[in-house]
């Protein structure tokens, strides 16, 4: 079956693709987006259903390997201490993310110059600043101006409520003289662009039934579709195809019925995240690209960065109302973000103060922690924990290393027979020292806030949410996969716009920067339409 050639085909419909498609749509080009998942139905999200807490361990769980959804592809992460957590649907992983939405710091773009590690980005904070601002309006970012950890910035919506929990932790930070600030959050705290305001449901990580959380299925995509973008769901792309001039000429994909189809295009844009993108590029082999398309540098899949996470928790005597409010968005601290030569590691980390747990999650976590007894002491021990536990996750900057990488698994395939990705990753000594420092500081602030006991887990094994660096940007074709505006060095009509192109990881959640980058790349393309392939 022949199909009309599109001007642009975008692979993936997550955070990056949505922003990019919306922006590029004003050119009136024919844009087709292929997404292996479907549209989510918010009325089916767990928070509106019986057994809502348990579904976070089941069909809305973190791992694509255990959720049992046909839209997911398997990932062999058995050789990594950190497992992949992603989601495949219109909106991608923003469906399940916490919507914690900080920007990178200016120093994140200059780690080589400042600290002698990683590489400098070919762009800087000021390049992305207008796109951060544009993204804040589109995603609906809540926050408070005046944060001394950042250059001045304005956010369009009032901050998420502190609640008792945020106040308690804030006092702890104040006692130690450490920085804290209400989290930048992609959460509509008031009605915004047709989205209803947050009503503090709690379990944002299993989808927002209210539609207040800024997942791109409710932010960019409806507007992009209205602008004429064609979004085809349940279409899984197998490979990018090439013509005799080393130009991409389209993609081959399987539709919802498993039928192989082809979409021709003048421009191919890849937005499949830091694991899915190298997987697609490595699966796209041809005579001139025997090691995968856009991979003459040999760097596709290399320099995989997560953010090594720790979780630090405290138990308090007073109730905290922690089961109310956006669970990943309360306050944040960047006290230890920047390099301090007095420490035994370079770069730094941030604290993302989380909220608490519901009644079932409290009970279940009490089994593994041993803090809740069964038998005669059950009710006393349960009461000492329920609504009294809170804490933080630590987000450590990960540095690029060649040996941390995504390859293709030689045996594992998805339901269409496409080779699955395999993760090779080890924690660096720098990350281990950083985690150790962070756990000690986290416990310190919890005790200052009044915690009677603390506990920690580092690294968090299921925390491979942030997937970066596997097709990085740069000006040198030997040292990078795409140029400073996202175009492949090797294939002049192939663009990559997701977290793969990060040069370093920073120490904050990457979605805001992923989207700012994709808006920036879309703008660069619009400005160069007459000579885009030169």
């Amino acid at each position: 079956m022949s199909e009309e050639t599109a001007d642009v085909v975008i692979v993936g419909a997550g955070a990056a693709a949505a922003a990019f498609a919306w922006s590029l749509a004003e050119t009136r080009m024919k844009i087709v987006c292929l997404e292996q998942g479907g549209w989510m139905n918010p009325s089916e999200y767990p928070s509106s259903q019986e057994g809502w807490e348990l579904r976070g361990f089941g069909d809305f769980g973190l791992s694509p390997n255990s959720r049992g959804r046909s839209e997911d592809y398997p990932v062999n992460d058995s050789e990594s201490p950190i497992a992949i957590s992603n989601f495949n649907a219109v909106g991608g992983s923003t469906i399940l993310y916490a919507a914690h939405f900080p920007r990178l710091h200016p120093s994140d773009f200059r780690t080589r110059s400042l600290d002698g590690v990683g590489e400098d980005w070919p762009i800087d904070y000021t390049t992305l600043e207008p796109y951060y601002d544009e993204n804040a309006l589109m995603m609906g970012v809540a926050g408070l101006a005046g944060d001394p950890a950042y250059p001045p910035k304005e956010l369009p919506l009032p901050p998420v409520p502190l609640g008792r929990l945020g106040e308690t932790l804030g006092r702890g930070f104040n006692q130690l003289g450490w920085h804290w600030w209400p989290s930048d959050s992609a959460i509509a705290t008031v009605e915004h662009r047709g989205r209803a305001p947050c009503i503090n449901l709690g379990p944002c990580l299993t989808g927002c039934a209210q539609g207040a959380k800024g997942s791109t299925d409710v932010t960019y995509w409806p507007e992009a579709v209205r602008r004429g973008v064609e979004l085809r769901t349940h279409c899984r792309v197998r490979e990018i195809t090439m013509d005799e001039n080393d130009m991409a000429d389209g993609v081959v994909y399987y539709d919802a019925d498993g039928v192989e189809r082809r979409q021709k295009a003048e421009i191919v844009v890849v937005a499949c995240n830091g694991v899915g993108t190298p997987r697609l590029l490595l699966n796209s082999r041809s005579a001139n690209f025997p090691n995968g398309v856009a991979n003459r540098s040999g760097l596709v899949g290399r320099n995989l960065m997560f953010h090594p996470y720790a979780m630090v928790q405290g138990v308090f005597d007073e109730p905290l109302d922690g089961y109310k409010g956006p669970m990943g968005c309360c306050i944040m601290s960047h006290e230890f973000y920047e390099t301090d030569p007095a420490r035994d590691f370079v770069r730094g980390y941030s604290f993302e103060i989380t909220r608490g747990m519901g009644p079932v999650s409290t009970a279940i976590s009490g089994i593994s922690s041993g803090n809740i007894s069964w038998g005669p002491d059950h009710h006393r021990t349960y009461a000492s924990q329920f609504n009294r536990i809170t804490g933080m996750v630590v987000i450590c900057e990960d540095l690029p290393e060649l040996e941390n990488r995504v390859s293709l698994d030689s045996n594992l395939t998805d339901s269409n027979g496409i080779p699955a990705p395999k993760i090779h990753y080890r924690l660096s000594e720098n990350s281990e020292r950083m985690l150790e420092h962070a756990v000690a500081r986290g416990k310190e602030v919890l005790v200052a806030a009044g915690a009677r006991e603390t506990s920690a887990q580092a690294p968090l094994p299921f925390a491979g949410w942030h997937l970066m660096g596997t097709a990085r940007m740069g000006v040198d074709p030997e040292q990078s996969v795409v140029n400073e505006w996202g175009r492949s060095h090797d294939v002049k009509n192939l663009f990559i716009i997701d977290g793969s192109i990060f040069v370093t990881s920073g120490a904050v959640n990457p979605t805001n920067t992923i989207q700012a980058l994709s808006l920036y790349i879309a703008d660069q393309m619009k400005q160069r339409l007459d000579n885009l392939f030169d």
Binding site: P148, G170, P359
Partner: protein, 155 residues
């Protein structure tokens, strides 16, 4: 030879025994008003929600009966809390799916029961559509941070 199908339900006698075991895992709390896990009807709930658990329950209850017989004990419900704990831990050595395997489904389902949620001061409902009120909090607490000079690295 005909293959015998595993029974899909517990007998009445087994259900009564299971209720006693569940009450040993989460006993009634007379001070706080919390019901026991057996008293709240968790046996029926487990059987309905998790048919795969039925053979595990049968095997565990049978093993527990045998252990009681070997100790010349008759009525599990009449034993002291410590005796009940001792028996369950003993059985757990050979039947870990039964105990402590039972803890997860018991906890997970107990804390969804309206009577239980009420004792915790919670409404028996899903978070959506009503949501929750949450105080915005005192942003004056930020004054020490506001007064701090910018500390990001300029570059």
């Amino acid at each position: 030879m005909a293959i015998e199908e595993a029974p899909s339900e517990l007998s009445n006698e087994e259900m009564q025994f299971l209720a006693q075991v569940l009450d040993a895992i989460i006993p009634p709390d007379e001070d706080g008003g919390s019901p026991g896990a057996g008293e709240v009807g968790l046996g029926d709930i487990l059987q309905q929600k998790s048919p795969a658990l039925v053979p595990v329950l049968k095997q565990g209850l049978t093993a527990l009966s045998r252990e009681m017989e070997s100790r010349q004990l008759v009525d599990f419900g009449a034993l002291s809390p410590n005796e009940k704990c001792s028996l369950l831990e003993r059985i757990g050595g050979q039947h870990p799916d039964f105990f402590p395997g039972l803890l997860f489904p018991v906890y997970a389902n107990y804390y969804q029961q309206p009577r239980v949620l009420k004792t915790l001061g919670l409404e028996a409902r899903t978070p959506y559509p009503l949501g929750y009120d949450l105080e915005s909090g005192d942003l004056d607490l930020l004054d020490p941070v506001r007064n701090r000079p910018p500390f990001y690295r300029r570059c």
